[in-house]
Symmetry: C2
Subunit: 538 residues, 2 copies
């Protein structure tokens, strides 16, 4: 069963190897865990539902305390702290589980007639507070789309698949695979997040270099709004005015509820492999990545860990003898202290993979990259969705872990990365209440464009003696770094969306008139502001 | 000097070879030209300007009759008929030529304060009535951006170039080429159209398969609106809410005047070549194209002429002996009557071009394609921007030529293409006033996507005895076919935009709520509707 207060399935646990434990203790100090509350104790706190009874939607709505607890929070660190401490503050008044577009229309009518706030809910994997209910006068109904999870149509000629919006990643891929197709959208949240959620939050997957972001995959579909049904026809490309698809992408539930998603799919590839190259230093490694993508080498995936992330990953990998041997070999070939690990993917026809591998290896070797083959790449592929489980293992040891991500142009990557890492590294030491407290910070670049790339920074710190102080530490790190990002040409999010947590930073990025455009769009479709209020626009 | 009543430079003339003339006479009958009026006679008709005097903008505005005539019409066939007959109906009251963003701001203030309509003007190459002034109470000021035509900045690391919005194609490429870069955006209007116009109308270039449409190239920039300056920051990709760039793309002057355009550029390629393959029939040829693009073969350009276009092109090419020899060889290899010509481009590193050529040839031969090398491809590349000049030659012979274009999903390409061609072929014969009048109709597919492609249909018909009747024939063909397109899953335009001519058909494509979104956006930025009224939204 799914964990009610953390990531993934209860039966799956990832253990940190002993070397990993000592590595962390050295970096940030030994720690001890805070006590978790039980699901029962939280359920006991859930107040009476304020939802007015209504026959048209009664059978769709679950007001049980457990359902309301399980839909109250996402996966941000502040959500974790709420779930572990039991201090939720607010619960939705009920959870609806529609199975058809008509069900969704009925829920919209109900919400409008009874002045209820609606929060669309996909996999509940938001790390930016998209699905958290807010305290207020109006009852809040969370609409869980999990009942709409089928492959509705597959047009093999046009390679368009139609899915119910609540279809989670594994069901998207398994239903397509049965016909020989793939969507190729693999965000780290893949196991739980849904296709409708990907659209609503403008998601990006690990192999976006081949398949594109969700913006490139989303071909059209159906959105139920308070003004009626918005149908987005599938057209390959058009110059007929502003693109309505692009207004729905990233709308985070403010315009309507996405019920059907049409996506551009691809035949399953003939070949796929992941390769690892080590570079002697960051400058060479980063330049090699830039050259690869600006050269349009046909890679399906590219990721570059900086020196600290490389060191951390090798330390947490276990198998110290094997890693030791690897490091000796790398050292002999010039990749010693300060080395950076690049992983690249090849996906496509056999011919394409052969050709791209040759070109990639040639460019990497120009920058002194040491090619190590596919062994470590295979490991990466096996573990690509398990990183969130590590959070549980670290939590049990008294460590909080979170990530911050952005994207910026190449000329600004090092500057912004440095600002982010420094602020996270020194953030707790600069703060009176947490002096001398260290943070372990490392970064990778994981989505590449001719113009720039994403920056994905992970930070680990010890939990404090109390939940309150742990939350305060997180807020300080998160908010000061977010401010730095938007003040220094970064987007507030490359792949996680805005939600409620990033909303205060959006106006710096979009500017006054950009915000005006988004505001006017949302107001047009939802004049009373009952759809996912405070999300996106704050 | 630029032709005042047609395409391109007066000194450049394209002649139709004698074989071409007899080919057309056979298809639609011999014809005779209508008489063109002189520039002087049109200038004499221009009424007094209604623009109120204002010191802040006086030096920017030209109210001379010739400037007003030269900015009154674009390049649609109805524009041509107006220019050739002298029946313009309406002229702008003046032409402003701003040189800075501040000039543009001053023009906006002037327009708002004095209740004047503004029409932004790039290269004047619209074929959909974007820049035509309408009769009405308010004075109309056309804002010609030609003074803002410089490369302002080039960031080599991020590969972002900043241009003044009025920079025409050749100046975009020559200024970049001096630094070793290219934008790679080559619409057929390239010689005259501007980078700001490409953004405003969501343009697509002949090599979009490599470089992307303008949506992929447009990284940000500056738009002057009635509410202030909208700055679009350059960010490689973002999940931070709806993308404001995508609201400006295709806004056709309704939101504001684009003054600065930042685009994603590329190093000049190591190699570029264009190759021609003939297929025995349409079905094999179309399928080969679909396979090439769905296989992600790294082509830079792909174009497929149907059998009639292939026949027409070979007939109009001149060199009947050479063509005869080619056709004999093709016939021996299975591409006889009904054969279809494909042109594909290879652009990139030497390694990429070699690899993609191998893959392309393999896929083509699976569908019985006869590869003929680069000789005809070179011809295509030399003549890629000269097609519009042919219109002049045909006009002098008494033939009117126009095109209709759309895009649709693969499963619908043949159906829609058939509907369009049949309607154009029979359109004049079905009509009482033009019975027995034939139309010569042919088509190519020119922009390819995994999901579908564009359909570009050309039709040639004889001018009638009068301009009025010629215009009526065109209107009948254009409007009935446009209606068919949007009623049958096609976009009203894949690459020419909406303008005033396509505006009546947009609501079918976008739907009521799609139109609501665009309306609300335009109203937010221009509540009085003084920016390019009736364009896009009708």
């Amino acid at each position: 069963m799914r964990r009610w207060n953390g990531w993934g399935d209860e039966t799956f646990n990832l253990e940190l190897p002993p070397q990993g434990q000592s590595f962390l203790a050295e970096r940030v100090g030994a720690s001890h865990a805070l006590e978790d509350v039980s699901l029962e104790s939280v359920c006991a706190k859930v107040p009476e539902s304020r939802l007015p009874a209504d026959d048209t939607v009664a059978k769709l709505i679950d007001t049980s305390p457990e359902a309301r607890v399980r839909h109250a929070r996402g996966q941000s660190l502040s959500d974790w702290l709420a779930m572990r401490s039991g201090e939720f503050g607010v619960f939705p008044d009920g959870v609806a589980r529609p199975e058809t577009s008509v069900d969704v229309q009925n829920l919209l009518h109900y919400a409008q007639a009874r002045n209820i706030e609606l929060i669309p809910y996909g996999g509940g994997t938001s790390v930016a507070g998209h699905i958290n209910p807010l305290a207020g006068e109006k009852p809040v109904l969370t609409v869980d789309m999990c009942g709409m999870n089928r492959l509705i149509d597959l047009d093999r000629e046009s390679q368009i698949a139609t899915f119910g919006a609540g279809t989670p990643g594994p069901l998207v891929e398994s239903q397509l695979r049965a016909h020989g197709y793939t969507l190729g959208h693999f965000p780290q949240s893949f196991e739980l997040s849904t296709i409708g959620g990907w659209v609503a939050s403008r998601s990006s997957g690990q192999q976006s270099l081949r398949y594109g972001r969700i913006e490139q995959l989303f071909a059209g579909g159906q959105i139920e709004t308070l003004k009626g049904t918005l149908n987005l026809p599938t057209i390959p490309a058009s110059s007929a005015g502003p693109d309505i698809r692009e207004m729905i992408l990233g709308s985070e539930g403010r315009i309507g509820l996405i019920t059907e998603v049409k996506v551009r799919v691809t035949r399953l590839p003939e070949q796929e492999s992941f390769h690892v190259v080590f570079f002697p230093d960051w400058d060479k490694a980063r330049t090699a990545c830039r050259k690869l993508v600006q050269n349009r080498t046909q890679l399906s995936m590219l990721r570059l860990s900086n020196a600290i992330e490389t060191e951390t990953q090798l330390a947490l990998a276990g198998h110290p003898q094997l890693i030791g041997m690897l490091e000796k070999v790398l050292s002999l070939r010039g990749a010693d202290e300060g080395k950076c690990m690049m992983t690249f993917g090849l996906t496509g026809s056999k011919h394409q993979c052969v050709s791209a591998r040759q070109e990639a290896k040639r460019i990497c070797s120009e920058y002194k990259g040491v090619y190590t083959g596919t062994r470590l790449g295979k490991k990466w592929a096996e573990k690509r969705f398990t990183m969130p489980y590590l959070r549980e293992a670290l939590w049990q040891m008294g460590y909080a872990v979170d990530t911050l991500e952005t994207a910026t142009d190449w000329d600004n990557v090092d500057t912004l990365l440095g600002l982010m890492e420094n602020n996270l590294r020194n953030g707790l030491q600069d703060r009176d209440e947490s002096k001398n407290e260290r943070t372990h910070v490392f970064t990778h670049l994981s989505h590449f464009y001719g113009q720039g790339c994403s920056i994905y920074t992970t930070y680990v710190f010890r939990v404090a003696d109390s939940y309150e102080e742990t939350l305060a530490r997180w807020k300080h790190l998160k908010n000061t770094t977010s401010e730095l990002i938007v003040r220094n040409r970064g987007t507030i999010s490359h792949q996680h969306g805005v939600g409620k947590d990033h909303a205060p930073f959006l106006p710096v990025e979009k500017g006054e008139l950009g915000m005006l455009a988004i505001h006017s769009l949302c107001r047009t479709f939802d004049p009373e502001g009952i759809l996912n209020p405070k999300t996106l626009l704050g």
